[in-house]
């Protein structure tokens, strides 16, 4: 059995997520797919599993060309995808989750299903309480259930998308054992990840993607430097910032433990000063967003304190942080920052601090137009937020930020922007920095991190692996750390 992807193209508007990707995998192989955010790995796997229809290209399994227009086709072809957070039906029992969607007769044969589940579980060392609701399972257990289900349905190709995020070390060991056993039986296992160490440990061959294309392939073992270079390219950018003049600490985390569903960051201690630019590096879901939200007052630490400009604001809620001069610009511009349906002028009105009850529409328009000119927003005072391009939405969000902000928290400040807009954004941000604002930003762009940060915190699986001085570190070191390894 062999799997071939031939010249897959998939574009979302102007963004070419997959630009002529070809891949070939033999049966019984544990194949790694490596690449950073935005490389196109997820899109490719969604094409393979039928979630997305490719614009052009072919998927050939065992010499047979597959028509994959829906997940159903993928299921019937024996291609199973394990999502990062498996799609389970939370209130249903483990057994029902196992059975749902499986072919069969009119009646559900729960006993047969139970036997099959136990069989697979025993074989791989899983353990399930079949009557428990699926919501009681940990992420790792949900994965195991999903693997058992896909195997029962006769999957011959198993795709795992970043499977080790949010599972325990012992579950990871179990998982790897399962994957090796499956590959030994002749299945094709595709392991999508950004974690170098795991890919090195598990995979026999690795394909590296970057910006929608395949950069190269490697037989394992392969030196990590080569993999990093393929993943990130040569990153030679040097820091553009001079020596910063730092002021008082604006944000202090004092042994703050942050926890959300899948991730816990224990006892983080951090201090950010006025005029400092702090970059947060790491794959999405490694903890950067949690740090930003905690600093904004949206996430209360389980223990420890959050201090803003000398005042302990732990647990006081978002408004207190807002009043203290903290401003948060989330990544989802339309989902979390702007209001679709309202105009640019209306956004400025909402963001402004004027307290007059009545709106002077003429004045609002004039002020909006002034800001539009000032921030070079392509749009008018009456343009709706959703009609602006991504870059202009970002300009709008920046324009809405009050001038006296002391701490600016940004998630992916230049994501989806062209170079010109990105440069422009940073010019404005640096202006604020010069005025004493502290900036903490998360980014997947190594260039950006290296060029603008004073310090870089590298996150990996909920841990801060290292704090780098941006001036002395290299793209290589940063890339390694994002992949979970220290540069030797």
């Amino acid at each position: 059995m062999s799997l071939e992807l031939r010249d897959i193209h998939k574009a979302f508007g102007p963004v070419k997520a997959n630009d002529g990707v070809s891949l070939s995998i033999e049966a019984g192989t544990l194949h790694g797919l490596l690449g950073e955010n935005g490389a196109g790995k997820s899109t490719l796997m969604k094409v393979l599993s039928g979630f997305i229809a490719a614009d052009s290209g072919e998927v050939v399994l065992d010499g047979r060309r597959l028509a994959l227009s829906s997940p159903r086709d993928g299921v019937e072809a024996g291609i199973g995808m394990l999502h990062q957070d498996p799609l389970v039906f939370l209130p249903f029992t483990v057994l029902d989750n196992f059975l749902l969607g499986a072919p069969g007769g009119l009646r559900i044969d729960r006993r047969a299903g139970e036997r099959a589940l136990r069989g697979t579980a025993d074989r791989f060392g899983f353990s399930f309480d079949t009557d428990a609701p699926a919501r009681s399972l940990t992420v790792g257990e949900r994965q195991q259930l999903e693997i058992a289900r896909l195997l029962w349905l006769g999957a011959r190709v198993l795709i795992l998308d970043e499977p080790t995020t949010g599972i325990s070390a012992s579950q990871r060991t179990t998982l790897f054992g399962v994957l090796r056993a499956l590959a030994a039986e002749g299945m094709i296992v595709i392991f999508v990840s950004h974690k170098l160490e795991e890919v090195e440990e598990l995979c026999e061959r690795v394909t590296v993607m970057r910006r929608g294309t395949v950069i190269g392939e490697a037989e394992m073992p392969c030196p990590a430097e080569r993999l990093v270079e393929m993943m990130f390219g040569r990153v030679l950018t040097e820091s553009e910032l001079g020596q910063p003049t730092l002021g008082e600490p604006v944000l202090q985390l004092d042994r703050a433990t942050l926890a959300e569903r899948a991730l816990t960051i224990p006892e983080m201690t951090l201090s950010v000063q006025e005029g400092e630019v702090l970059g947060l590096a790491g794959l999405e879901g490694s903890g950067q967003r949690m740090l930003l939200r905690a600093a904004a007052g949206l996430l209360e630490p389980r223990s420890g304190r959050v201090v803003v400009r000398g005042r302990d604001l732990t647990g006081q809620g978002y408004r207190a942080f807002l009043d203290a001069g903290v401003h948060y610009l989330p990544a989802g511009r339309l989902e979390e920052g702007l209001v679709a349906g309202l105009t640019v002028a209306e956004h400025f009105l909402l963001a402004g601090d004027a307290t007059a009850f009545f709106i002077d529409h003429d004045r609002a328009r004039r002020e909006a137009e002034a800001k539009i000119a000032d921030y070079s927003i392509v749009g008018t005072a009456d343009s709706t937020a959703e009609s602006l391009s991504g870059g202009n939405q970002q300009r709008l969000l920046l324009a809405m930020t009050p001038p006296d902000v002391r701490l600016l928290l940004m998630e992916h400040p230049t994501r989806g922007l062209d170079i010109e807009s990105a440069d422009w954004v940073w010019t404005r941000l640096l202006e604020r920095r010069d005025a004493g604002t502290a900036i903490v930003f998360a980014s997947a762009d190594l260039d950006e991190l290296l060029r603008y940060s004073d310090r870089i915190l590298v996150f990996f699986a909920g841990e801060i692996l290292k704090v780098l001085d941006a001036r002395t570190t290299t793209g290589e070191e940063l890339g390694h750390l994002i992949g979970g390894r220290e540069l030797r």
């Binding site: 997940p71 993928g74 799609l87 039906f89 749902l100 969607g101 559900i108």
Partner: protein
């Protein structure tokens, strides 16, 4: 006593049809808020058709068709046009009620055919139960079948499990190859057809005639009972019969407590609110741990994707 229970079972049967029908639609994720109007319009249709054709069965068929059609509009508007299910259902309710008045005008006061009585041989001779359950007619027996059928289908069959998945988390169902939107159409229309039968059961079996506003509030009560019954056909049916008891009690008590007895008729609604609050509370983990019995008894989890539209993107 037996006679009373038998009467209660009989008078509650239209409500059972409507509530079971709505349960099916909601379990698949679609709120058919047009229920009140559907029951009204199909009651009129059922009566009118049976009056014109002389056939009770045709009346039921026509009524079911009307219910299915209205439900199809709701489903279409939601799935294809991405409109709010509530908005469309609401407008359809008012429209259907007015249509029933307008088109039913010539039939007011007419005497119609009734569903012929059909005691089940042998079973109707059982003491007590025979009188209560097996001495009715096809329409009422049909309501029993609806309860059992819905329950068995939803909880005991493979397709029923898939339907639950569609209403609970359509993305996950879709990922498993289940045709989410096609099934939503199917189940919404089925629910609508049952609501249509409810209407016919009312005008052809309970009141034997049509007048304006005949089935007033029945649809709203059915909606409340679906929630109170936790989207489980058996509990929903119990809720419907409970309402039957309350109605009967209200009628009996009226001479004695004229004003207080009216309150009994409205009991489903505070109960529905109570059930909804309970759902919310049980999702807050600490409450569930402190009141496990209450939780098991009244726990009513709505299908998580209820009322939402599923888009492939």
């Amino acid at each position: 006593m037996e006679a009373t229970l038998a009467t209660i079972v009989a008078t509650a049967s239209p409500l059972v049809y409507a509530a079971i029908g709505e349960t099916i639609a909601e379990k698949a994720g679609v709120v058919n808020l047009s229920l009140e109007g559907t029951v009204m319009l199909s009651a009129m249709t059922g009566f009118a058709v049976s009056f014109e054709t002389g056939s009770v069965i045709l009346g039921f068929v026509a009524a079911a068709a009307v219910g299915a059609l209205i439900a199809a509009i709701v489903a279409f508007a939601s799935i294809e046009l991405r409109l709010n299910q509530i908005a469309v259902g609401f407008v359809l309710t008012l429209l259907a009620i007015e249509l029933s008045s307008f088109l039913g005008d010539p039939y007011v006061g007419q005497r119609g055919r009734a569903v012929p009585s059909l005691p089940v041989p042998l079973l109707s001779d059982i003491p007590f139960l025979g009188r209560v359950l097996f001495s009715h007619n096809l329409s009422i027996y049909g309501s029993f079948v609806a309860i059992a059928g819905a329950y068995l289908f939803i909880f005991k069959t493979r397709r029923g499990l898939e339907m639950q998945g569609v209403g609970e988390r359509p993305e996950a169902a879709f990922a498993r190859g289940i045709p989410v939107n096609r099934l939503r159409y199917l189940y919404t229309v089925t629910g609508g057809a049952l609501a249509g039968i409810a209407g016919a059961a009312f005008s052809l079996d309970r009141t034997f005639g049509w007048r304006e506003g005949l089935t007033a509030n029945y649809g709203w009560i059915a909606l409340a009972i679906v929630i109170f019954g936790g989207w489980n056909p058996i509990r929903v049916a119990i809720g419907a019969y409970l309402f039957g008891v309350l109605s009967w009690a209200a009628l009996e008590l009226q001479p004695v407590f004229p004003s207080e007895s009216q309150i009994l008729n409205l009991a489903p609604f505070p109960l529905m609110i109570f059930a909804l609050v309970l759902v919310f509370m049980t999702t807050r983990g600490d409450f569930a741990d402190r009141h496990p019995i209450l939780r098991r008894l009244l726990s009513a989890e709505p299908p998580s994707a209820l009322g939402t539209a599923f888009h492939r993107e």
